[in-house]
């Protein structure tokens, strides 16, 4: 947003070296960043200090002087390989710790579907609201993005949240965040994706819960992804094997599948996450679930990314004792309702 001057600079006038800190990660990442900066400054001063001192002190006096050779010292060598190594380890451990937090979405996160395409971001909420190049979220709610691309690799990058993940064609990637400050923040595409890469920008709008509710009700919520998914499920004939309500038949029951441990014919166990469901639809023979013949046809190339996401959303909504995706209002029960944000999210019934 050109006219709305992003707060990024305004608020960090104090220290114009770090961007706005607006998510639960920001401060953690910044702390680590300052540690690294400290180490760097230390070693840079150490080295350049020593260089300058020696260069001045041991300036060549006469063109014929030959200093006494010094072989070296094992002690020093070990010293200056061990100390840096220990420092390095500390940095590594700290970084890895935050990294896992950044990419392991919590159980009760609200899901938002993101589809990148040259050169725009298409976003859909589980309640049906669609947005382009804008993402509205309430403060203090954990948001999990389920992302894929229709063409090339893109990257969903929000500096103020210190989060970034590639958005790949042909598979799902996820990341999550919890915004801490209302405001409008840059959304960049951070993976080069062709002509208009630098134009594939937008903004994440963080609202107070009440404002978010009014935004939700204000925006026309069309059919929810789950409901749309149900229609594809029927039109593609999944029902013929998995049953109209996913109760199962020639194919395994899909009710309660999401998040369950699935025993495969090969004997190994996998958790049925979005990726697994996607794979089961596009490449069924890869992971055949135990007790069934691999008779499921592949739907490779017959469904586009958006439809696929909706089917996945539908299967996820098939939880024991719920008939989801039937109405446009009731959100997918598998995931906590984003509306109304003033209430605490419904705890999910799944077994993850």
């Amino acid at each position: 947003m050109p006219e709305v001057k992003p707060k990024a600079m305004l608020q960090s006038q104090w220290i114009p070296f770090i961007p706005e800190s607006a998510s639960t990660f920001s401060d953690k990442v910044d702390a680590l960043y300052f540690y690294l900066t400290g180490v760097t400054v230390f070693f840079t001063l150490l080295i350049s200090g020593a260089l300058i001192y020696f260069v001045l002190k041991y300036k060549r006096r006469s063109p014929f002087e030959i200093p006494r050779p010094i072989a070296g010292s094992i002690k020093l060598e070990t010293l200056w390989s061990v100390i840096p190594f220990l420092i390095a380890i500390s940095i590594f451990a700290w970084g890895a710790d935050i990294y896992f937090e950044q990419y392991r979405p919590p159980q009760n996160a609200v899901e938002v579907y993101v589809v990148g395409k040259q050169w725009m971001w298409k976003i859909q909420h589980t309640t049906g609201q669609r947005e382009i190049n804008e993402l509205h979220v309430p403060v203090g709610r954990k948001i999990k993005l389920i992302m894929t691309s229709e063409d090339v690799i893109h990257n969903f990058f929000v500096p103020a949240f210190r989060m970034k993940a590639d958005v790949l064609p042909g598979r799902y990637t996820t990341q999550w965040f919890e915004a801490t400050k209302p405001g409008r923040y840059h959304l960049f595409c951070a993976e080069y994706c062709g002509m208009n890469h630098s134009g594939m920008i937008g903004s994440v709008v963080v609202l107070e819960p009440t404002d978010f509710d009014s935004w939700l009700s204000g925006t026309a919520g069309e059919q929810t992804p789950a409901a749309a998914g149900r229609q594809h499920y029927e039109s593609l004939g999944c029902a013929s094997c998995h049953g109209a309500e996913g109760e199962g038949g020639r194919g395994p029951a899909l009710v309660g599948l999401f998040g369950r441990e699935v025993l495969l014919a090969s004997g190994q166990r996998v958790t049925a996450d979005e990726g697994y469901i996607r794979e089961s639809i596009l490449n069924p023979t890869a992971k055949v679930s135990a007790g069934f013949q691999p008779i499921m046809p592949t739907f490779f190339g017959q469904v586009n990314e958006e439809q696929l996401m909706q089917i996945v959303a539908f299967i996820k909504s098939l939880q024991i004792g719920t008939t989801a995706g039937t109405t446009t209002e009731t959100p997918a029960a598998a995931t906590p309702s984003p509306a109304p944000a003033t209430q605490t999210p419904v705890q999910e019934t799944g077994t993850r």
Binding site: T44, Y192, G194
Partner: protein
């Protein structure tokens, strides 16, 4: 057949430069020194080309809105800047010019093991270069130097195949160079030149060659597959047939990370020479510095995934790669500390090459340390593909590798051209470059952490201040680089004649006349001294290390005036 003791070279007016004349004598030469010069000419051209692109980038980024050129043009400009600078300038820079010239001289051999292959490698290089230039003229390429699929295979409509072909061919020249070096260093060392008497320049070139032969084939097959895929419309990187684009990134970085060590290791070798020789000290902890080169070469192959922390690679793989990236930093650390320690109680002269060497150490430290930021998982998530990365690698590649290259060029210029460069101008331009460099690239660290993505043709206005600084710096840097270009060319004709050993150094390359005769040494030398063993000067005079005085009226030491 070997002389018992070392004979001083008899003064020769005939040298490799005036042994023969005419274009043919150059284009068909098998003399490693002349081939080195052929390379010098070609890569200088590519450097200037890449530099012009760089200037276009900086011009465009002066203002937030992309007003100078269209976004497509801009994409082509930075892509071609990257491709030219990496594949056609920095990778061949030191090995193919100074390495070609010096490896045989330093180990006391008459030539590289395979002179014909050496010449062939230059022709292959030129072939690759010409094809790439054709691609640029025909319409250019806009994939970024990293060629990420599926954009490069399916969506880009620029000359990807031609460029890929150029890089594919170019790869073989670097393989052949590496092969030649390794065989030469193994089989052609002069009598008495044991492994631990080798100058560190040789060790680093040995390590570099290892990477060249083990890594380059992988990039070759990768770009080949990429080209096939583009031509046949489908392929293994194409999600549309169930391929995985990330596989391309694995294959690409398997080479391209080690390649960054192809770019820096020779520079480290040069700096080791400069630091030791211009402080008249044997390098502190020779064996550690020598083996750290090999360590870097080996470990360098274990960290490529640190370019893919946010690419959808598994988190666990990310952890492994992050950890190993920290491990690979240690050998570099060892080098930095040993260089610094070498200066202690030395006899340090402030000649231009030394200034470059000192600059290298400082800038490489900063560049390397910021590499650690990137190797840190959580931080890389934020700064990946921002200007922070851009700043990181320019600090190492321009502040490090390029300065080392310039330092080496000045240091061996008397040997190469038989003339001295103007010392005053040398020091001056070194300082200009140093200043301009910082101004260009330091602001990019800040812009990067603030979130400015790289490869952006237009950017939000709040980043402008950093870009203006950077562009200003770039023009200073450009001028700073222009000066040596001018005076080096000038000195080839008007420079003072150089004696055989202008710096009074023990290295073998200084024990023959400047420029050396075609066969390098009148007699195969027999090495009886350790590396960097500085005999008292009077004694060196006796064995005639000062070389051929008849060429030069002023045999008084240039250094330490």
């Amino acid at each position: 057949m070997h002389p018992e003791s070392f004979q001083p070279p008899t003064p020769t007016r005939v040298n490799y430069l005036n042994a023969e004349y005419g274009l043919k004598s150059w284009l068909l030469t098998k003399d490693h020194k002349r081939i080195g010069m052929l390379y010098l000419g070609s890569i200088s051209f590519f450097f200037l080309l890449g530099g012009i692109y760089a200037m276009l980038i900086r011009l465009e980024l002066l203002t937030p809105q992309g007003d100078l050129m269209t976004s497509t043009t801009y994409n082509k400009v930075f892509t071609q800047h990257g491709i030219i600078m990496i594949f056609f300038f920095l990778i061949p820079s030191i090995p193919a010019t100074l390495g070609n010239f010096l490896v045989p001289l330093m180990i006391g051999a008459k030539d590289l093991a395979f002179p014909r292959i050496n010449l062939l490698s230059w022709y292959i290089f030129m072939a690759g270069g010409l094809i790439t230039i054709y691609a640029l003229l025909a319409g250019g390429v806009d994939t970024g130097w990293t060629f990420y699929t599926p954009f490069s295979t399916t969506f880009s409509n620029s000359y990807v195949v031609a460029t890929g072909l150029g890089i594919f061919i170019n790869g073989f020249s670097s393989i052949l160079t590496g092969l030649n070096f390794i065989v030469t260093i193994h089989t052609m060392r002069a009598p008495g030149m044991t492994w631990f008497r080798l100058p560190l320049f040789i060790w680093s070139h040995y390590a570099t060659s290892l990477i060249m032969i083990l890594g380059t084939p992988v990039i070759a097959i990768t770009v080949l597959l990429l080209a096939f895929e583009r031509v046949s419309g489908i392929g293994i990187f194409d999600p549309a047939v169930g391929g995985d684009p990330v596989l391309f990134q694995h294959l690409f970085w398997f080479y391209s990370h080690p390649a960054v060590y192809i770019m820096i290791l020779p520079g480290m070798g040069v700096v080791s020479e400069l630091i030791a020789n211009f402080s008249r000290k044997n390098i502190f902890g020779y064996t550690f510095v020598a083996f750290s080169s090999l360590a870097i070469a080996v470990f360098g192959f274990l960290v490529w995934g640190h370019h893919m922390f946010v690419s959808g690679q598994s988190l666990y793989a990310g952890m492994i790669f992050s950890f190993l990236s920290f491990a690979v930093a240690i050998p570099s650390a060892i080098k930095v500390f040993n260089w610094t320690a070498t200066l202690y109680k030395g006899s340090i002269s402030y000649d231009t090459p030394m200034l470059y060497a000192l600059g290298f150490i400082g800038l490489f430290t900063i560049g390397g340390m910021t590499g650690l930021f990137l190797a840190t998982l959580a931080v890389d998530v934020h700064v990946h593909d921002t200007y922070f990365v851009v700043a990181h690698f320019h600090y190492i590649m321009v502040g490090g590798a390029l300065l080392a290259y310039l330092g080496g060029l000045h240091y061996w210029w008397p040997k190469i051209s038989g003339r001295m460069y103007p010392e005053g101008w040398g020091r001056f331009s070194a300082l200009v470059i140093f200043v301009g460099f910082h101004l260009t690239f330091f602001p990019q660290f800040i812009a990067g952490y603030l979130g400015m993505p790289r490869r952006y043709h237009a950017y939000p206005p709040e980043f402008q201040v950093f870009n203006v600084l950077s562009s200003a710096g770039a023009s200073i840097l450009g001028v700073g680089l222009l000066i040596p270009v001018i005076y080096l060319v000038w000195s080839m004709r008007y420079g003072k004649f150089a004696v055989g050993n202008p710096w009074h150094l023990p290295g073998l390359e200084w024990r023959t006349s400047s420029p050396p005769p075609t066969e390098n040494f009148v007699e195969t030398p027999v090495v009886t001294w350790e590396a960097y063993e500085f005999a008292p000067l009077e004694e060196m005079e006796v064995v005639g290390v000062l070389g051929d005085r008849s060429q030069d009226e002023s045999a008084t030491p240039i250094s330490g005036d």
